[in-house]
């Protein structure tokens, strides 16, 4: 019974809960049991909130029993929340020692929306410290292991959320995407991850990595589930000045439409600059197959050029560290978080705390950003990077004038072995080559499973990108592709994940 519930997609599980075939408490318990069984291998969670999850589920059950309509289409469905969103009843560490045990005095807007929707929050998921990394190896609390191959990375920074889905610890998860932290983990775990348009989901209570790039978004095992979750969390928030005051795109309707499998009349652009050299052969093969599948669905596939994308990575690694250096200045031991009592002055305590509390990648980026913003260097670094950002936005605008969506492989490689790139920051940064441009331009992007790479049998993701607030067409293409792939391959990709050894526990 339990294991069956954990295999269901969120939409199906929600139906069973709302029709009282299954209780929300049973659903929560099944996932808590699964977490207890596999966490030792996977390490997707930093905090599991069993008691509050069951309490919240019981409230949903009581409300359904009383004949009240469910608070949302996902009421009663369990979810894994990335540990970067403020939660008043759970620690919020951002994967960092400097916030070990910190309990925020408030809920993030996204957290409140999940609660209001009756979604059961199972706990907080592992991540690279302050969302800086592509492998979750920079978590201060140890890496997350990829359920497809436990010696491999689950991607990052949201490796915990993606692994929780792939390990059937939760049918839904929340991630944040600054340069690919939702999409790349989705790609390497064979799951679905969406980075909404910048400003589409409130950042209030999302502990900032880089304010102008960060965006919260839904993670799931199916495109429809992601769409259902998208509609719960998206929408204007007066507490976030950068939040868009416009209706949320009708992504659930678009996903349902897409699943009927017709993309005729749609133009799909292949970004010439996001492919070829540097992409693993199995990734390229899977991507080529995906293009043929899109054509089979009736889409017209054309090549487009985005000439400035090649400067994206360089611009990103100036803008992001600059904002990081300022955003992370607040961790100074004066008001909350770690405090290392060393020396007599406030400055000494600050320095000692930051030395002990931040990991190597965070320090590297703070130093980079402090340098890039320094007087005399600002124009050459931060200023130039902002110009590149504008050019990339123009590339997108020109491309979207020709096509409805753009596609590329989500990541250049499949999941690499844990430890392989930890000492080579540049190699690590290259993971996000294909995902970074959407963050720089603020447009929408998603990753859907495209297949397994022939050489290592690990998942590959297809990235679909759409203009700002163009999520509907993106979900439609994603759902159509997913349905066609499932039909051709006799079932979803995630069904092919090896069973984790849980019997011994």
């Amino acid at each position: 019974m339990s294991s069956d519930l954990t295999r269901l997609d969120a939409a199906t599980l929600a139906e069973k809960i709302h029709s009282r075939e299954v209780s929300a408490v049973e659903a929560a318990q099944a996932h808590l049991d699964r977490i207890a069984a596999v966490e030792g291998d996977v390490h997707a969670f930093l905090h599991v909130a069993g008691e509050s999850a069951l309490e919240s589920a019981a409230l949903v059950d009581a409300s359904i029993a009383a004949g009240t309509a469910p608070a949302s289409p996902l009421a009663g469905v369990p979810l894994a929340l990335k540990d970067v969103f403020a939660t008043i009843d759970m620690p919020t560490t951002c994967g960092s020692r400097i916030l070990e045990g910190w309990r925020p005095p408030y809920d993030a807007t996204l957290t409140s929306r999940l609660r209001a929707a009756g979604i059961t929050i199972l706990g907080k998921t592992n991540m690279d410290e302050f969302a800086m990394g592509s492998s979750t190896e920079y978590s201060a609390y140890g890496p997350t292991h990829n359920p497809w191959a436990l010696d491999r990375i689950a991607g990052g920074s949201g490796g915990g959320s993606a692994a929780a889905l792939a390990a059937f610890e939760a049918p839904l998860a929340i991630g944040t995407d600054t340069g690919g932290s939702i999409r790349q983990p989705a790609a390497v775990t064979g799951t679905v991850g969406v980075k909404p348009t910048y400003g589409g989901v409130s950042r209030y209570g999302l502990v900032a990595c880089a304010s102008s790039l960060d965006q919260g978004g839904p993670c799931a095992r199916t495109v429809l589930d992601a769409a259902l979750l998208h509609e719960v969390i998206a929408g204007h928030d007066p507490l976030d000045s950068t939040s868009i005051d416009a209706p949320v795109p009708a992504v659930v309707e678009a996903a349902r439409l897409g699943a009927t499998g017709d993309l005729s009349g749609l133009r799909v652009g292949v970004v010439r600059e996001l492919g070829g050299e540097g992409y693993q052969p199995g990734v390229r093969a899977s991507f080529d197959a995906a293009l043929r599948r899109l054509e089979k669905l009736g889409a017209e596939v054309v090549e487009v050029s985005c000439p400035h994308f090649e400067y994206g990575l360089a611009a990103y690694y100036l803008i992001l560290p600059s904002e990081v250096s300022s955003n992370l200045a607040r961790f100074d031991a004066m008001r909350y978080g770690l405090r290392v009592e060393k020396g007599a002055s406030a400055e000494e305590v600050m320095a000692a705390t930051r030395e002990a509390g931040f990991g190597p990648e965070v320090k590297r980026r703070i130093i980079l950003g402090t340098y890039a913003l320094s007087s005399g260097y600002y124009d050459a670094y931060y200023g130039q990077a902002q110009k590149v950002r504008t050019l990339i936005s123009r590339d997108f605008a020109a491309a979207f004038a020709q096509v409805d969506v753009l596609v590329s492989p989500t990541a250049p490689t499949t999941a690499f072995p844990i430890g392989e790139k930890i000492d080579d920051p540049l190699a690590m940064y290259l993971n996000d080559l294909a995902t970074i441009p959407t963050n720089l331009a603020g447009v929408a992007g998603m990753s859907v499973p495209s297949g397994l790479a022939e050489e290592d049998g690990l998942p590959v993701g297809l990235q679909i990108m759409a203009p700002a607030l163009g999520e509907a067409v993106m979900y439609r293409v994603g759902a159509a592709f997913e349905a066609a792939r499932n039909a051709d391959e006799s079932g979803p990709l995630i069904a092919r994940i090896p069973e984790l050894e849980v019997a011994a526990r």
Binding site: F85, A86, T92, C94, L99, W102, P104, P105, Y106, A108, R203, Y204, G205, L206, V207, A208, A210, S211, S212, P238, L239, D240, S241, T242, S322, E323, S325, S326, A329, R330, F331, D332, M334, R335, Y336, A346, E347, M350, T370, L373, S374, S375, Y378, Y382
Partner: protein, 499 residues
């Protein structure tokens, strides 16, 4: 450091041209802070007016206070500035425990108001045009209290306490361009500018502008160049100048000190100095090595401020009559001499008198009440006139009661005393203290007859046409009625009874 050489002021201006610049911070009196909904009241218990945003909690975000932007634009317009059609906030990055985010959200190269001026009138009527470089919005920091140690400064303190109530309170910083050619009048120009700026901001109703409470703070930038050379000297920036008088004294002191350094063959250090109220001198603060690198960059958590021309014009329409123009109008209306006007202004009485007149009182009576009796009471209590516990409307009511004969002047003063003592409105005090003039003729006639009977010789004189003799009877009646009689009516009755 040894005691600096100070040069006689006359000597200084004979040899050097002072270059003056003034930066004034005005704390806005908005109900809520610049970027969150916390209250801004002065004097609350420490750390009670705080929230995740103004405490810099991880994840919390700022939202701009629209009223603060409005106030900034109105200040800009009143200073004849251009209002920027588009501008971003910037982060000024530096670490200090009283700054929750370790960056201050401010405006840097895109201020809301630029290129204005203020015509400053000196005591002798000379007008000096002070050019305004910019006015920009920013947030205040928290306050540090350094405990232990002898000086109350961080150096030598045992520990420090932090109060974040002030963190995030909206500030407008108004920066002048360099004010040249002031010569010996530099100290006076500085004081007059700050005074006039204070009056202007006050008239806009956007700030308390209380220098003693820190809702208006002034930094004085000063340098000297050798007379007629036009070669700019190195400047010092003097902070902590907390009164109008201190502005003048700080300029004067710095001029003498700079001259001392220069005439000794030394070089002026570019540094921040602190004004010491008691000695009237300045002491060195932190040295600015070239310039501190604040690593400014546009605040990514806020969207640009883009006031529409319509909104700016709408706000221009809300600007009140300029305080000095108003004064000119009032003194013409009331027939005041320049000296009388200045006395009223210096006593802080002008607004109060005007408000009393607006509440219906004749200008003469209103003036006389505020300048005489009420000023005495304020002096006795040791508070500014405007802080007396009586409103202009209440004063107007007292005057009305006197005019209508219900009170005489002596009783009126008792009513005012009652109001000041918190006994309620003038009418309530009249009622509770039983201060009404005895206007019941029956009671008065009895008292008059009694007095006439007691002094038959006087009564005889009155009957004989010596009306002036009635004074003695009036006095007796007033005494008998404990001053509550209307003296005019008493006199009338005496004539009647002797007729």
């Amino acid at each position: 450091m040894s005691t600096p050489t100070l040069i006689e002021f006359d000597d200084v201006v004979a040899r050097f041209d002072p270059m003056l610049g003034l930066e004034v911070h005005v704390e806005l009196s908005t109900n809520t802070k610049m970027f969150c909904g916390c209250p801004t009241e002065f004097g609350a218990e420490p750390n009670t007016q705080v929230c995740p945003t103004c405490l810099g909690m991880p994840g919390a975000l700022p939202v701009v206070n629209r009223t603060a932007v409005e106030s900034a634009i109105r200040i800009g317009l009143a200073l004849n500035c251009s209002i920027a059609p588009w501008g971003r906030f910037a982060r000024k990055n530096y670490f200090y425990p009283d700054m929750p985010k370790n960056f201050q959200t401010s405006q840097y190269d895109e201020p809301i108001a630029v290129d204005g001026w203020l015509d400053v009138e000196l005591d002798d009527g000379t007008i000096v045009r002070v050019e305004i470089e910019r006015a920009h919005m920013e947030e205040d920091t928290g306050k540090s209290l350094h405990v232990g140690g002898a000086t109350g400064r961080i150096h030598g303190a045992e520990y420090s306490l932090l109060d974040y109530n002030r963190a995030g309170v909206p500030l407008i910083e108004i920066v002048t361009k360099m004010i040249p050619d002031t010569g010996a009048r530099a100290p006076e120009v500085a004081r007059a500018y700050v005074t006039q700026l204070r009056d202007l901001v006050k008239s806009l109703g956007v700030s308390d502008v209380r220098m003693d409470q820190g809702s208006m703070r002034c930094d004085v930038n000063l340098s000297l160049s050798p007379k007629g050379s036009g070669v700019l000297g190195t400047r010092s920036e003097t902070k902590n100048v907390n009164s109008l008088r201190s502005v003048e004294r700080a300029v004067r002191y710095e001029m003498s000190r700079h001259a001392g350094v220069l005439l000794d063959g030394g070089t002026v250090v570019q540094e921040t100095r602190h004004f010491e109220e008691q000695s009237g001198s300045t002491r060195a603060g932190r040295i600015k090595e070239t310039s501190e690198d604040y690593r400014y960059f546009p605040e990514p958590d806020l969207v640009p401020i883009a006031p529409t021309p319509e909104w700016v014009e709408e706000l221009r329409g809300t600007l009140p009559e300029l305080p000095w123009e108003r004064r000119k109008r009032i003194s013409a209306e009331w027939g005041l001499t320049a000296e009388e006007l200045r006395d009223l202004v210096n006593a802080g009485a002008l607004d109060l008198i005007e408000a009393t007149v607006a509440a219906g009182a004749p200008a003469g009576e209103a003036r006389s009440w505020w300048v005489a009796y009420l000023t005495q009471q304020a002096n006795t209590a040791g508070v500014p006139l405007e802080e007396l516990a009586i409103t202009p409307a209440q004063v107007a009511r007292v005057i009305e009661l006197v005019t209508s004969g219900e009170l005489n002047n002596k009783l009126a003063r008792q009513v005012v005393d009652g109001v000041l003592a918190g006994e309620g409105s003038p009418d309530e005090v009249v009622e509770s203290r039983g201060l009404k003039v005895v206007s019941d003729d029956g009671a008065l006639i009895a008292a008059v007859d009694e007095a006439l009977a007691a002094q038959p010789d006087v009564a005889e004189k009155i009957r004989g046409g010596k009306v002036a003799a009635a004074g003695a009877i009036v006095g007796a009646v007033m005494k008998a009625t404990k001053g509550q009689a209307d003296a005019k009516r008493v006199r009338e009755l005496i004539i009647e009874r002797c007729g």
